[in-house]
């Protein structure tokens, strides 16, 4: 799956649209003809290596950068024409949860309420909502600096949605947070999404990517794949993944280098992950091939690929394609 395909929901309710978006910094093309759509209530994950252009795309969508060409439409507003209006319609949560550690929970909420111009009458109710969502009822007067990771994360989310933005941008939202807290956080995100909030998440964490409805993979400023996690795992890996447990992973790896139909091979703990064209064929062929070289794997089986496998394969394939085209 590639490029500009619309997501399953109706195009009319697309809240975030990037249309042939390009951003240049001098000669450097940071965003290279990227197109995608995110429907209302959808959670889209942005994945990509460092420097791939994820942050640039997000900043453009937030109205912080002007596109060099193409359009970005957020909440129905053309970002290039009216960046200020766009910012009213989005909430942003950054990696380090920019909360003020020497202010209390309530003071932080009040501060962000002011920043986002939440009307007084509404603010009290929204603050109540945020506090309950974060589970901080009864701790409104606690200094934020005394809260642990999970609380901070939920509070930061609360601050980002005080003004009921229809669109939410999350930048690496769960770095350094415990798994249990992370799950609770994602529950909240899903709950917001079910109420119609559109969410765009930028992340490295493959586990996080699994929580998204759709994923967009960015590499060198280009969109190289989109789809749901399940779709990508099924179709994008370009083969079948085998698990090969053995006693001598190094030697086995070498032996498989020129094996027929082996697309990629890497060590994984005490085993190898082998990407082959056809699992059935290789399940019988490979053990024979290895036996001929005096290597006896303990166990060979097909395993479902993880998103990380998909990610790495796609990036590698893209890299190869780029080199071939050059």
């Amino acid at each position: 799956m590639n490029g500009a395909g619309p997501t399953p929901q109706a195009a009319k309710s697309d809240q975030v649209i990037a249309d042939d978006l390009v951003k240049r910094f001098g000669d450097f093309v940071a965003v290279d003809h990227v197109s995608f759509r995110i429907a209302r209530g959808e959670i889209m994950g942005f994945l990509g290596p460092n420097g791939a252009g994820k942050s640039t795309i997000i900043r453009t969508l937030c109205g912080l950068l002007r596109p060099s060409s193409g359009r970005a439409i957020v909440g129905g507003i053309d970002v290039a024409r009216d960046p200020e209006a766009v910012r009213q319609r989005i909430g942003y949560m950054s990696q380090k949860f920019s909360l003020y550690r020497d202010l209390t929970v309530e003071e932080n909420l009040r501060f962000f309420g002011g920043i986002y111009n939440v009307p007084r009458i509404e603010l009290r109710e929204r603050m109540r909502f945020a506090i309950d969502m974060a589970g901080l009822a009864g701790r409104e007067q606690a200094l934020v600096g005394t809260l642990a990771g999970g609380w901070l994360q939920r509070l930061a989310l609360g601050c980002a949605v005080l003004h009921r933005p229809p669109i939410l941008f999350l930048d690496e939202p769960t770095s350094g947070v415990e798994p249990a807290s992370r799950r609770r956080f994602w529950d909240l995100i899903h709950s917001l999404a079910s109420e119609g909030v559109t969410v765009l998440v930028s992340t490295h964490y493959m586990e996080e990517a699994e929580y998204c409805h759709h994923i967009a993979l960015i590499n060198h400023g280009r969109l190289i794949a989109t789809g749901s996690p399940a779709e990508l795992k099924r179709t994008a890996i370009g083969g079948d993944l085998l698990l090969l447990e053995c006693d001598a992973p190094g030697a086995t790896l070498e032996a498989l280098q020129d094996a027929p139909d082996v697309r990629d091979c890497s060590v994984f703990g005490d085993a190898l992950h082998v990407l082959v064209g056809n699992a059935e064929k290789s399940l019988t062929e490979l053990p024979e091939l290895l036996a001929a070289k005096g290597l006896r794997p303990r166990h060979v089986a097909q395993i479902p690929p993880t998103l990380e496998d998909v990610f790495v394969q796609l990036i590698a394939a893209d890299g190869a394609a780029q080199r071939a085209a050059a």
Partner: protein, 312 residues
């Protein structure tokens, strides 16, 4: 020191910061030539443990034996054969790549010709051959990591201690990094690596799953997964929330989790519960495409272990 004995032995290790117990009677052992993981979320005590192993922080209790040497009584003795890579970049930003490598080679008294040969080999393996004259401060994050590893390896240590070297690094670079580690393992180096990425646990030979300064589990990843209390099932559906409401609270069901393409849950007995749940879902009027047993990730095991309060 017989080869069967562990090269690192930690017993009842304790570290306090004022009232807070960062490391709370931690015990584990590392075998010669293996890649051992200290795995756990932030705040688990990984960095404190690594620092005590490296001899840059004093334990408040317990024992550490490194290659037969009492590392608590005599940390300096252990430093000749151990290389440490702290979480925070520890090299000199105002020195060049070459100067940093040379500095650490000199500290371990590596003969010059050997240093030159090793340095060029390591730089080539990292794709940094032409970066010798760059100041370390000018390098990208990924390259800084690689430089850290090169400086740690220039004197061929027996033991390599890496504190969260892959945090914030994208999956492609992470895979490259692990390739380097596996190469080192082939050369017989023992590696202790700490990580907050639970999925990296699967790449280690053995690991210790840590939480709040304690070890929840210490064994191979495969054994760890078998130790999962219950079975993980995956229900594919477009309406995850409805599925979740339908099955939460049902007997034998715990840890119901919304994921992108449906719901994950842990059941006590798959054969018994799956049909029951299918029925519950049907009654609730929700459409699903599949219910199947799934392989738990290390994170699933971690959360389940925490939940049930199990510890080794």
């Amino acid at each position: 020191m017989s080869p069967e004995q562990p090269i690192i032995q930690v017993d009842g290790l304790i570290k306090r910061f004022a009232e807070f117990r960062a490391v709370d009677r931690l015990s584990f052992s590392v075998n010669r030539g293996e890649i051992f993981g200290l795995v756990g979320p932030d705040g688990a005590g990984k960095t404190a443990t690594m620092r005590m192993l490296a001899g840059v922080m004093r334990p408040d209790g317990g024992a550490i034996l490194i290659d037969g040497i009492d590392a608590v009584a005599d940390p300096e003795e252990t430093k000749q054969h151990v290389s440490y890579m702290p979480q925070r970049f520890g090299l000199y930003e105002d020195l060049t790549v070459d100067e940093n490598i040379r500095f650490y080679a000199d500290l371990f008294e590596v003969p010059s010709p050997l240093r030159r040969e090793r340095a060029s080999r390591l730089l080539a393996a990292s794709g940094m051959t032409h970066f010798g004259k760059f100041r370390a401060g000018q390098l990208s994050g990924g390259m800084k990591q690689k430089l850290g590893v090169i400086c740690a390896l220039v004197h061929t240590p027996k033991i390599l201690l890496l504190d969260e070297p892959t945090t914030g690094v994208d999956p492609v670079s992470r895979r490259d990094f692990w390739r380097i580690l596996y190469g080192l393992r082939e050369d017989g180096v023992t590696i202790v690596i700490s990580t907050a990425y639970l999925d990296e646990a699967e790449r280690c030979n053995r690991l210790t799953l840590m939480h709040s300064g304690r070890a929840l589990y210490c064994d191979t990843p495969a054994a760890l997964k078998k130790h999962m209390p219950g079975t993980l099932i995956a229900i594919s559906s477009a309406d995850g929330r409805a599925v979740r409401s339908a099955i939460t609270g049902k007997p034998g069901v715990s840890q119901v989790l919304l994921v992108g393409d449906g719901v994950h849950a842990v059941v006590d007995n798959a054969d018994m519960r799956i049909p029951q749940l299918r029925e519950d879902i049907r009654l609730a009027g929700v459409s699903i495409s599949d219910v199947a047993v799934a392989v738990p990730s290390i994170e699933d095991v971690f959360v389940a272990l925490l939940e049930t309060g199990e510890a080794k």
